[in-house]
Every structure is written in C-alpha cells, then in structure tokens.
C-alpha cells in the first residue's frame, strides 16, 4: 500500500489522534498525540491489510532548536515496515517539554526494550510500563541527557567515575612499576651523573653514590644494594672482563 494511503487510513481510523501528515521525498510521516500510541501501533501491526510486523527504528527528537517552530518540544519516532507487504510508515509522537512521557511498546515488540531505554538515556523521555527503564549507553550516575539540544557538545563536566578512576591511578602509581623519583635525588646530581657516565666506568655504583651520599642515605643504600655494574653504563662484556 502507498504510504499516503496508509496515513489516510490511519486518519480515518484514529481521526482525533492524528495532528498532521507530512511528506518528504515520498516518505510520509504522521504526527500523533501520545495517548493512544499503543492501540494505534497494535492496529497497524495486526490489521490484515497492513501487517506492519517490523519495528525498524525508534528514536527521540528534540525540536527546541528547529528553524520553524514546532507544536511540542519532543518527539518519539517509530519506523514501521511490513516484511510481507513491503510498505512502510513513520509515526511521530509529539510530547510536551514538561515531563515528557509516552506508553511503552515493549508489549508489542520486545526489541523496543533497549530502543526505549536509549531514548530515555539520551532525552530523558519516560516510557510508562517499561519493564526496566534505566540508562543503557551511559553510566547510571551520568548527569543530564546528552542529545537534548541544550546539552553542550563537550559535556558539562568530567564524569565522576572517571575522576575517581584517575585519583585511583595516581594512588597506585606510588607503588607502581615506575614510582615517581624521591625528591632528595634531584638535589645532588653527582650521584646520578656519575652512575650514568660511561666515561668513568671504573666506578661502581656504591662509589659513585659515595661522595654525594652525605645527606641522602636512602638513595645510597638503594644504589649500593644493586649488584655491581648495574646502571653504570657498562656493557655486559665490560662487566665480565672486570
């Protein structure tokens, strides 16, 4: 059936619910009031000459920044398709800005479960009688609904979970594979320089650390504990010869 014809049938059947019918590039969208959406969808799915058995997509729209003004702020859009009769229709349910909510269609298509959760996640539109209405793509403690037009592209602030994770990483780094160097080691550079300078390979670590170790016992002991030759710039062969 032609999309226009489906829209007209829908209008005769549910004349009070249909707000408007729009057409673009051969695709017809029917603007609806939210109250009777489940009966309308059930009728489209079950009536013998329509048999719209495939819910292609379900998504939300925020109309607040449109160039032309729209009657309501939010929309939930349903794309329906009939796999047997090969026709489609688009239903656009208009929802108010204050407390947008619409009945869930999970009872008709169980696949709508996550799609509705996504709309809730991204737009904050509630679905009545939904079995498990919580966020799906974002963490449960996320603030705001990102696909609303007033939500900034870069977000408002760092997610609390990530902040905690970063703090935890810093804490763990204290005991990590590359712990931050002790503050004392930076003062007297001679120990390090001597140890790393390949020009003086005859010095052992302990010797190199020796002259500068006066106020830095800690560094010296650590260095002395290392086997001779380690970190002195000697190659393995040189060490063997020594």
């Amino acid at each position: 059936m032609e999309q226009r014809a489906i829209a007209d049938t829908l209008k005769t059947q549910f004349s009070e619910e249909v707000v408007d019918i729009v057409e673009y590039q051969g695709q017809v969208g029917v603007l609806l009031r939210p109250d009777q959406i489940v009966p309308i969808l059930r009728w489209l799915r079950d009536s013998a000459d329509l048999r719209m058995d495939h819910l292609r997509a379900l998504c939300g729209v925020d109309n607040s920044k449109r160039k032309t003004s729209y009657p309501e702020r939010f929309e939930v859009v349903y794309q329906l398709y009939s796999t047997e009769l090969r026709h489609e229709i688009r239903l656009r349910v208009l929802l108010p800005e204050k407390d947008p909510h619409v009945d869930s269609v999970v009872s008709l298509w169980s696949g709508a479960n996550w799609l509705e959760r996504e709309v809730f996640d991204m737009f904050g539109i509630r679905f009545n009688q939904h079995p498990n209405l919580k966020r799906v793509l974002l963490p449960d403690d996320w603030e705001g609904h990102p696909l609303r037009k007033e939500y900034p592209l870069k977000g408002r602030k760092e997610w609390q979970g990530l902040v905690e994770l970063k703090e935890r990483i810093q804490e763990l780094d204290q005991h990590g594979f590359y712990p931050p160097p002790p503050v004392e080691a930076k003062k007297g550079g001679t120990a390090k320089k001597g140890a790393k300078n390949p020009v003086e390979p005859q010095k052992t670590v302990a010797q190199a650390a020796g002259p500068a170790s006066a106020g830095k016992e800690k560094t010296a002991t650590v260095a002395a504990a290392l086997p001779a030759g380690v970190n002195t710039g000697k190659t393995l062969r040189e060490r063997d010869q020594a």
Partner: protein
C-alpha cells in the same frame, strides 16, 4: 602488621539455591568480541538471567553528527562497524543522497555495490573465523584470515586504507577503480568458491560443531520479528527480508542474486545462511565486474568533496548547486538545503543499518539517528540465552554477529 579483623562469616543455609551465583563476563573476555559485558546469574551452569551491558565504546556519534556537515559526518560512519566500514559509508551516502535528492552516476553505483559485497565477504570471513575459534575450531580461523587479507589488500589498492575507508562519497565515489583492482578481484572470486567449500569441509560435518550449534539459540519466526532481528539472523528464522531486495539501492536492482532463507532459526541455520550469502556475494561481484559501465564516478549535482577525478575551477565549485562540501562551506556561500526527514535502510553484513536524518535547511543534520543492528542483536541475547548453558551463550554471541563499535555508536 594489622591484625586480621575477627568477623563472623555467615555460612549460607542450604535452601536449594546454593548453586546460584552471579558471574560478570567481560568486558575483556575474548569471546565477547570487543567490550561487551554480560552480567549472568547462574544456577550451576545454567543461565537464569542474562543482562548484557553496553556503552563502553560510546563516542556520541549521533551528537557529533549534529555539529558537523554531512561530508564531515562521513568519516564517523567508518567508526561504526569497523569490520565492514565500507557498508556503513555506503549506507550513509545513500541516505544523504536521498535527503538532498542527488543521483549518483551508474558507474559509481556499480562500484559501490562491488565494495559493499567485498566488505560483506570480509565481515562474514571475520565472523566465521572468530565464531569458529570460540567454538574450538582453530584452523578455520587461520584459513579465513588468509582470504580476508586478500580483500583488505584490494581495498588498500582501491583507496589506500585497510579498515577505515571513507571511500564512497555523497553523490559518487572518491576514485575510479583501476585495472589492477579489477584483475585482483577477478582472481579472488575465481578461487573463493573453492575456499568456501574448504571451510565447509572443515566444520560442516564436524561433530563438535554440530553439537554446539544445532538447536542452540533457537528463535521462532514471530519471536525474531518481535525482537527486531535483521539480516542473516532474521532470515535464518524463515523471514524473507533483505533490504537489497525489498528497497534496492545502488545497483542491487540491476544484478541477479538470491536471498538464502533458513528454517530452524538456530545457530546452525544462521551459519548456513551466512555461508550461502557469501556464495551470492561472489555472484553479485562477478556480475558487477562484467556489467561495469564506463562513465563518470561523481554526479554533476554532487556536493564538491575535493574529488581527485573531478577537477573544477575554484569559483565554479563555490556556486555549484549543492555546494555542500568542505570547500563550499569555507567560502560562506549559502547553498539551499531542503527541510525534511528521511529514513533510509541498507543491508550491511550485520543486518539492517538505518539512518534517520532530519534536516531543517542547514548544512548540518538537525538530528541523525543510527539504527544499528548490533545494538538490537545484543539486546536479543537475553531472549536467546536464558535457560541455556554458559557455553551456549558464547555460541550465541558469535552467531548473532555483533560489533560493539556499531552498537555503542
């Protein structure tokens, strides 16, 4: 030393439920094919409740698309299904072309069909490789990657990239195919049917393969439609629905191919469907090579996107009808964009990929929703797996063929 705190440990009272426990599988589990986490409640080895968790790869592509021009959004679609990025590019281009009323030339449509089917083969090969590996057939994994490599090299020859192509453009394709590419493709499709036989010899009558796929993750026809399954998952349940046949795009109405339909709706039927699809893809590729018409690869009314084949004077590019590309925008010309909304679906290897684009007359999409098959297929895992064994969940994740980049967007 801290003294261990003296706590009384509660000994669970036997209630008949003592075998029940929770298991969090993933997001780093190798069999979840990415960053999918599945929260399981188990009774022994039987799954009582299965709750997949997605979102680890969420990049806000729909939000980004509202802030970029259509040409700039194209590269984001590579990052959806990175296994078959070419199909995603084509799907997006087809949708924007319909929105802006642009017709790509015939040659471009054929080339797109070629790359579409090539990426279907590449995706199905990767699916078969990993699915077989999950079930325990290591050899198939190596064989499949051997053939996938040929395809990736052909892609590299075509556009210089192996995974994220951005090769199709709104109104055409980026570059023309060369003789080397066509030769290589011809050689590939000459040998590939034998390779499919080789895989089938390895696993088709393998007792372990059969035991682990036949009757596992069974979905009836009605249930599959209710769950919103598409692609091979839906066809394995006996529903004749393929967007390439139902609402043809590119050159699919000009080539002859069949859509394999299964009956049982289990993992084995899904496997059979995909194997047959590969054979049909080879058929389509052969016809495309034979029929490939000469002519331009970019339409006259296409938005200028710095196409190497279409060198036009700078000033002319500014005022071209839909001068919607990167260049046109930087010159403050104001091309007219129609206002309207459009939903265009294409058949990607995973299922039906749909783009719902609303335009309000600005060069950016006012809203772009991506109907991603993987997202819906993951949500169907609950229905497929509850009541089965943990090992069958691995089979199910593999056989519905999901990719998390597309699911999380």
């Amino acid at each position: 030393m801290k003294e261990p705190s003296k706590q009384t440990v509660e000994v669970p009272v036997a209630t008949g439920d003592e075998d029940r426990y929770r298991l969090r599988m993933g997001p780093q589990h190798p069999a979840t094919h990415g960053v999918l986490r599945v929260d399981l409640e188990l009774d022994g080895e039987t799954i009582v409740a299965c709750d997949p968790q997605v979102g680890y790869l969420h990049r806000g592509i729909e939000k980004l698309a509202e802030n970029r021009t259509y040409a700039q959004t194209l590269i984001l679609t590579d990052r959806l299904d990175y296994i078959a990025a070419m199909s995603n590019n084509c799907g997006f281009c087809v949708a924007v072309e319909k929105l802006l009323a642009i017709t790509p030339p015939l040659r471009a449509r054929y080339i797109r069909t070629i790359v579409n089917e090539m990426s279907r083969l590449a995706s199905h090969l990767l699916w078969l490789a990993t699915h077989a590996l999950d079930i325990g057939a290591m050899t198939v994994f190596l064989y499949c990657f051997r053939e996938r490599e040929i395809l990736l090299e052909l892609f590299e020859e075509l556009c210089g990239a192996r995974l994220t192509f951005s090769y199709p453009r709104i109104g055409g394709v980026r570059q023309d195919v060369n003789a080397y590419f066509i030769d290589g493709l011809q050689r590939f499709i000459d040998i590939f049917p034998e390779k499919i036989l080789e895989y089938e010899t390895l696993i088709d009558t393998n007792r372990i393969w059969l035991k682990r796929t036949v009757g596992i993750g069974k979905v009836s026809r009605e249930k599959a439609l209710s769950l919103g399954l598409t692609g091979a998952c839906l066809r394995a349940s006996g529903v004749d629905y393929d967007v390439r046949k139902h609402q043809p795009y590119d050159a699919y109405d000009l080539v002859d191919f069949e859509v394999p339909i299964g009956q049982e709706g289990d993992s084995y039927a899904r496997y059979r469907c995909r194997m047959e699809e590969m054979r049909q893809s080879v058929r389509i590729l052969q016809q495309c090579i034979d029929q490939l018409p000469p002519g331009p690869i970019v339409g006259e009314d296409a938005p200028d996107l710095h196409m190497s084949q279409r060198i036009i004077p700078f000033r002319e590019a500014r005022v071209s009808a839909y001068g919607t590309g990167l260049i046109a925008l930087s010159h403050k010309t104001k091309p007219t964009y129609p206002a309207g909304d459009i939903y265009v679906a294409t058949e990607v290897p995973k299922g039906e990929l749909g783009f719902y684009i609303i335009s309000d007359g600005s060069p950016r999409a006012y809203r772009m929703h991506i109907r991603s098959p993987s997202f819906i297929h993951i949500s169907a895992l609950t229905a497929l797996s509850e009541g089965g064994l943990v090992a069958d969940l691995i089979t199910n994740i593999g056989s519905v063929d999901v990719v998390l980049g597309e699911s999380d967007r």
